[in-house]
Amino acid sequence: MLPFTVYFSPDVFFPQNYPLYIRSVPSQNELKFHYTVHTSLDVVEEKVSAVGKSLADQRELYLGLLYPTEDYKVYGYVTNSKVKFVIVVDSSNTSLRDNEIRSMFRKLHNSFTDVMCNPFYNPGDPILSKAFNGIVSGMMVQTS
């Protein structure tokens, strides 16, 4: 069997595109991964603005595959308050289907909402919540 690596990282951005939470496994080649996620914001913004024009309400939060690269598949999700989630999966990981990615995003969104509800959390600060971290770790284990 081939060496099998999953780059999986849900990213949560503040609307200003400050990364609130970045995590990747494994940490090798983290830099390239950061560049990829940063660049993917272009497509997220493009999709969000395109969606805003056609369908104002009843918007699908899941943006689908943002763009493929040789090594990664980048998926996007945008909440109604324009918080962006990005999941990057290694291209060679074929076991993850659209539906699984979608449900991962939904899980992330729920957990993120919990973080925001925490009165001690200052919106805009990096997310350090253990619960959120746990959810992410769980998803990473599940997919790798």
């Binding site: 830099l31 940063h38 914001l41 913004e45 990096p126």
Partner: protein, 1174 residues
Amino acid sequence: MLNMCAGDQSLFTSLYTSLAQQLPREPMEWRRTYGRAPKMIHLEANFVQFKEELLPKEGNKALLTFPFLHIYWTDCCDTETYKSSVKEDMMRWQNTLRSHSSADWVIIVVETNDTKKNKKTNILPRSSIVDKIRSDFCNKQNDRCVVLSDPLKDSSRSLDSWNALLLKLRTLLLMSFTKNLGRFEDDMRTLREKRTQPGWSFCEYFMVQEELAFVFEMLQQFEDALVQYDELDALFTQYVLNFGAGDTANWLGSFCAPVRNWSGLLLRRPIDMEKRDSIQRGEASLLDLRSYLFSRQCTLLIFLQRPWEVTQRALELLHNCVQELRLLEVSVIDGALDCWVFLSCLEVLHRIEGCCDQAQLAANCSHTVGLWAYATDKLKSLGELCGLVSKNGPTSEDLNRTVDLLAGLGDERPETINSLQSPYKKLKEALSSVEAFEKHYLELSHAAMEMYQAIGRLRSARLVGKSLAEFYMAKGDPERAETFLQEALKSYVSEGWSLPVTHTRRQIAECQKLLGRTEDYLQTSALLAGDGNLSTEERKHFCQEILSFAGKSENHSHKVTLSMNVFAQLTRLQFHPATASVHSGAVLQVELTLRCLMPVSVRIQQLAASIHFDIDHGGTHGRSKGTLRRTNRGTVEFKQGNSSAGPASSAAAGPTLEMDEIQDRSPSDNSLASVGVVCKNTHLVMRRRENGSPPETPNCVSPPTVAMKEGGQMLKVQDVKLEPGNNSITFTAPPGTYTLRQLCATVGEVQFVLSHIYPSVRYEVYSQEPQLTPLLAGMPQLVKFTLLTGHYTVKKGDALQLSNTETMPILPSSSCTLVGESVLSIQSSEKVTSISLPPTPPYHALEFQLEVLCLIPSGSFLEYGFCPQMSIDCPWSIYSTLLALTFYIPFKTKHSLLSSGNRKYIQVCVQNVSDMSFTLADVKLTEKQHESLELQSFNTKTNQLLCSKHSVFCLWEARWKDDLPVTTLYSVKAEIFPPAGEPHCRSGLVCGLEVSITRLIEPSDGEMAEDSKTDTDGLKTTKLMYEVADSSSNWAVCGKSSGMVVMPLKANATHKLQIEVMPLFAGHLPFPKIKVLKYLPHNAAAAIQPDPDSCVENDSLSLLDKTLDDQGDTASIRSRGSIHSVGSSDQQQRGVAMPRLEAFSQGQVFNNSHSQQVLVLPTADDHIMEVNAT
């Protein structure tokens, strides 16, 4: 679709052309199996001669060469011939068909006029031949035999029969096609279901399904054709994925062969037969199969006019192929795939450019830009592989590799051999030399960047730029590289991406070092030395770079100035004592906490804080000090973002509001005028923050211009060692009120400057001036002294010396008491009062009270108060303190003279302006000079409370013992009479106003002389002017409103006037005001004095002017009178000597009917009722 024709070939040949043309002309509805939507299709058919060997054998998979309909042509009209030869031929034909189980046939009998003419027995046999054929062959299938009459004639009969034939042919053809296609699809599905069986071959299946695709394409059903290829694509992909999951299929083996050819996609042919053959033979490699499949998909998509789907699919395909080769572990030499991808990208782009115009391409570059960027990327990695991206050029090893790569490209395809810009030529040229490579690479990079910028994908554009920068760095051109890097860094910093920031910044540092830009390099180094994303070794390296520069003792004209924030952060500032405000003489210490970001300890020669003297707060209690005390308690925490581009959340949320309390005191009495809360940093909070503008974080891209202001005062500490982490540094503050402005650390030749300390911090070393509260004059009061000891310790025997003033004696009787405590001893001499103080520790308050009385200075008239001066001497100061105490006078008085008939009254109003309440007792009014008045008091109360800000009125009647200085000369009495026959006045009806003016006393001497003239009968007279004025517009005066009265200067002389007035409203109306004025004719003008009654005339019914009735406004009356009296004709004549009007002084005229009212009824038949609700 193929049709086979049997029978008379020459007959068919003559009809072939028109048949082949006309058949596709009309569309047919094609009903399809499996619930697929029906479609209208045009049937295009090909006709070949019937040959038995061409008939498909059992199990044939070919659909394109399948004969769908068999036609037998005959023009036989002769029964004999039919019986003898034609029938037999038909029988043979039918048997052959039956043996091949083909039931789709039709017999066409052509009849022409020629045949009719030639045969004499034409009617019966002809019909009988068709009938015969029908009975012989078409049992129950009469539609299988069609008659075509006069096919070559242009007649309506011929046309009709043509149309009938064509319709029949189309129907039969379609029927057969549907049946056979259904069978084919079923077979194909069966074949697909067998795919798990050993020996199943994908290539074989591929050919079968592609046959279907070809048929659909032939029918112009491109969508359906595309579906076939997509199904094949998906099937293949699934196999590869299954292979990855461990489920191998034997046939995949052929696709796992090492890649030997990487010539890229070929999209210029509709069908690449070369590749198709290799697939058919089962010799195709993975890239061959994918290339062929994609070229077919591309062709169909372009037929469908969806070129942008081609680009999207192309990108997916290229990524996918790379992945699949990896997954299948196909051995590929280094760079081969890069070549393949590069060529393929360009080929797709060329293909798209071939079918779109420039405007379309420009509008859709979001679809093509991915391919451009991918091609750029691949070319770059090829360049690196082949040693083309270096300063020295390729090595021999690199050259060998290049040759290998070029070999795999094979020969150029014939399609592009003549084109100058073919992908093949481009790649070959780019790999041929360093210069050519650079040219091609730059061209591609710039194209990709421009496209990204055009569609607003700035981040992607910057990433391409960064890659370009790396190229320039490798080529040894740091200057160009830095531009791109800075651009990228700006975006990472503004969006808070710390890892890319660190990485890019390190590259910039490299550029700057190569460029010899020392200051920038040091700044970047400082940033990197404090960057937590780097390893300690790297950080130490950058720190050492700074320190070694600082250590150089070269003769720099100026020191290099860097921003402090990258080196150390000011996190906290603390004052000792915490009030940040001490009395001069005491020590105020300022403790700074600096968080050093360097990985090693740094020795600093000098740390200086520049301070700014605050003039507006010099010595007094400003508001700022209060704030400092209340909110910070001597400690100021400085919030800062991390120096590495961390999540600068504080910047994202905007600066925090800094609120301050303000109190405005009026300068005269120090009373509180207004209190409020102000925001001190509105300029920061309210600043419009543009999207994506870099926040004010210390990690600015270019070092901010920091400069230490020269010449200011400084707090200095020498020789400090800053350890990594928090360090505390203490300064001692000089006296004065100062704001901390800047901070500067000097390390050898390097200065780190914090250009401003924010939020601003102020401290105060002060000597306090006395604060005074105002006092009331004229009564003994307790004065409270509050003595704040400051840093001075009051010793036993210390005493305060107060100088005495005449106006403010300190009452000796009173005792000087310490508040709540014992009595202080006071020694009073004539000039000085000395108070001995108890021993008190520093920073304590000492309070005592002293009773003083301030005498109201007589003679001088003071409106508010006065300030006697007093000086205090104390043992801790060599200077006397001068005090200007303010005393206010508590009362204001006003008086006025009132009259009633002959009687005169004096009214005095006492107003209390102070904040205290007083009791007035025994109010008395006395004459100062002579006792000519007899005053009778009307004030019954002996004690009267006078509250703060209130007034009390007192009244006396004045009687003169002899001569009255003020007497009533005239009494005016008015009466209003209703019109004749009416009991009451009515509004709108003219009433009579009778005014009687009565002289009350004999004239005095002065009056006689002044303005009287002797009448003919010896009686002295004077002239009075009267005026009826109504202030409230209740009355309209009809006729004259003013006039002249000649009054005999004799007691009880009465003059009556009749004036007509009209009430304007109903109700109890006050009488109109009647004014009487002195009329002073000018002496010189006496002769031409006109008749007084006609002099002032006002004939028109006029509403009286309101301004007239102001009693005191004599000037206005005078001018008015003159205008009235002056006719238009004789103005010049009288202009020299004008008569004057003069008001009587107060009390000389008594108005009896003052404030009298008369009842006015509304008009009897008023239609309009006016309701006034007020």
